[in-house]
Amino acid sequence: MDQPLQHSSAAHDFLRDPQRAAWHDQTLWMVRAKRDRMASRVPEWEQLREAASQIKEHTLSRLADYLEQFASKAEANGIHVHWAADGEEHNRIVHSILKRHGVRKMVKSKSMLTEECHLNPYLEQKGIEVIDTDLGERIVQLQQKPPSHIVMPAIHLKRAEVGEVFHEHLGTPAGLDDAQQLTEAARQHLRNHFLTADAALTGVNFAVAETGGFVVCTNEGNADMGAHLAPVHIACMGLEKIIPEQKHLGVFLRLLARSATGQPSTVFSSHFLKPRPGQEMHVVIVDNGRSRQLARPDYRKSLACIRCAACFNTCPVYRRSGGYSYSFFIAGPIGSILAPNVDKAAHSSLPFASTLCGSCTAVCPVKIDIHSQLLKWRQEITAAGHAPWWKKAAMLATAFAVRRPALFRLGGWFMRHASPVFNVFKLDPWTRTRDLPPAPAQTFRQWHNQRSNRDS
């Protein structure tokens, strides 16, 4: 069996090009700074976060009821509602709809759920062409790569690299690296696909139980271009996308774009309630492990996520390691707490890809306690025996030493004198890029004894 991707070694590879790593770090930090500017313009920002958190917690505690309400309203509105227990069933449902309509080409706007279910390869195997229409997603699709960021899928690529991809696949002139011209080329290319697609698939940002409608947010307009032209519209949603009432959209739409990209609003916030005349509209509601996560009190709040990726942009580890160093299709801090629910062993390194600084928790618009959950997963993963051998060995050695005062003291003496050796021979990962400082002249034990003697 293949070794699962280890975050630290993949991050090490990413850092082999320090200039690119620094550029990646700065680009994401710029997005974080834009988010800060937008958030600070809303005096009631913290009140908004609290309301969003309360709505989500309430919804999670009545999820089944709200989903049933949504489904019956949506059906009354003429939308076909499907339920999928896992990714495989989701893919089968989507394919059966497409097959019934003889679809040969489908345009798809951003949907992390379909990444999760591996829908594209499934449909391609069945002979259906899938065109990702978000610009960033189209770029990485042409490269046959997954998105490296859930909001900005091609954030790891430079203009010139996009130019190379478009030169190869869209026939733009070699060496073109102007963002405006590259975007124009993609617009023409995708416009042609929009006009000739037999079906459109979109994600769902929010599904409203009260109305049976759903909202899709984009800046490019690609979800709508697909959905309003094609005779069939399929919207796929994780079951946690539900919110109780339409007025709650006011809270979430105020938070989403500001948190995600530092815009006051996405350009298009489209409210789908009924199919247009002559069109068929489907919603696929997917569980795929979400009910399992809901049953874990320590982690259920992770289901409140609205996929804004603010935690990515602020994370010192994500910014310096890139999306491809994560073994899960959702990278960053939120991916690192969602992944172990799916497969603890395969994603055992992710909760350790964090400094636990808590910045993710501080920016999260729905107040998910991301860094606390990271710590809990660490404990659970270690208890389940998925920690690497050297970490287990280090823990055992430490436990052995601290129970033996003489050995512990000897260890202390050794470390106080050995730091130059560590620095010269780079014996510890920490000393690969920096030196351990010299130990102070006085030991903690000496200092403590001195103080206790004086005080008593």
């Binding site: 809303v42 309360q54 505690s61 489904a71 899928p153 963002a179 339409q246 009924k274």
Partner: protein, 196 residues
């Protein structure tokens, strides 16, 4: 169909119902907010839209005549500003590809984010129009403004038609190296004509 099994595992997992979040949502809506037309216009400029002020639709017609090429295809949902495309005859939305400017009203605007609200009352059955056209010309009254999205949803109340849209400026993307490009798949420009 996995409906029953999904719902039953959710019922087992969801635990005791938590209190309604209503008080927090109502408190947000009731916060004092004096944002008005100057804020709306400033936000529109921030998001790359153009604003034009006028007194009536005659002035809007003049603006269109002076700013849109005379041979451009115009699809209009405002009868006082007739276009060149007869929308009543359009049954296949694909034929709207090539429209230079789409003209329609917006029900109201939102000061905090520059979004305007419209549904099929304003759009007719042509949902794709604000996306497929190269440019948008949106007419709204200066008095039709709300400060935030909370008041916006209060005003929408019940969605009367099958589709509704908050539209905030021209389509855009920053997917290539975070360089902002106006005109992704949707309109390359949006003009909001505000009638005082």
């Amino acid at each position: 169909m996995s409906r029953a099994s999904i719902l039953s595992s959710l019922r087992l997992a969801q635990g005791a119902p938590l209190p309604s979040p209503d008080a927090a949502v109502v408190a947000l809506k009731d916060l004092p907010n004096t944002a008005g037309l100057p804020d709306f216009i400033a936000t529109l400029e921030l998001i790359g839209a153009r604003t034009v002020r006028g007194h009536n639709l005659t002035e809007a017609a003049t603006w269109l005549r002076e700013n849109i090429p005379s041979d451009a295809e115009i699809a209009s949902h405002i009868k006082e500003l007739p276009g060149t495309v007869d929308l009543s005859k359009v049954t296949d939305p694909h034929t709207l590809d090539g429209v230079h400017t789409a003209v329609f009203r917006a029900r109201f605007g939102v000061c905090e984010n520059g979004a305007v609200w419209l549904d099929e009352t304003e759009l007719g059955p042509h949902r794709v129009l604000p996306f497929i056209a190269e440019h948008l010309f949106i007419v709204m009254r200066a008095g039709d403004l709300v400060p935030t999205l909370h008041q916006a949803y209060e005003r929408i109340a019940t969605l009367g038609t099958g589709f509704g849209l908050f539209l905030a400026g021209p389509s855009k993307t920053a997917d290539i190296e975070q360089c902002l490009v106006i005109g992704a798949h949707g309109a390359r420009g949006a003009t909001v004509f505000i009638i005082d």
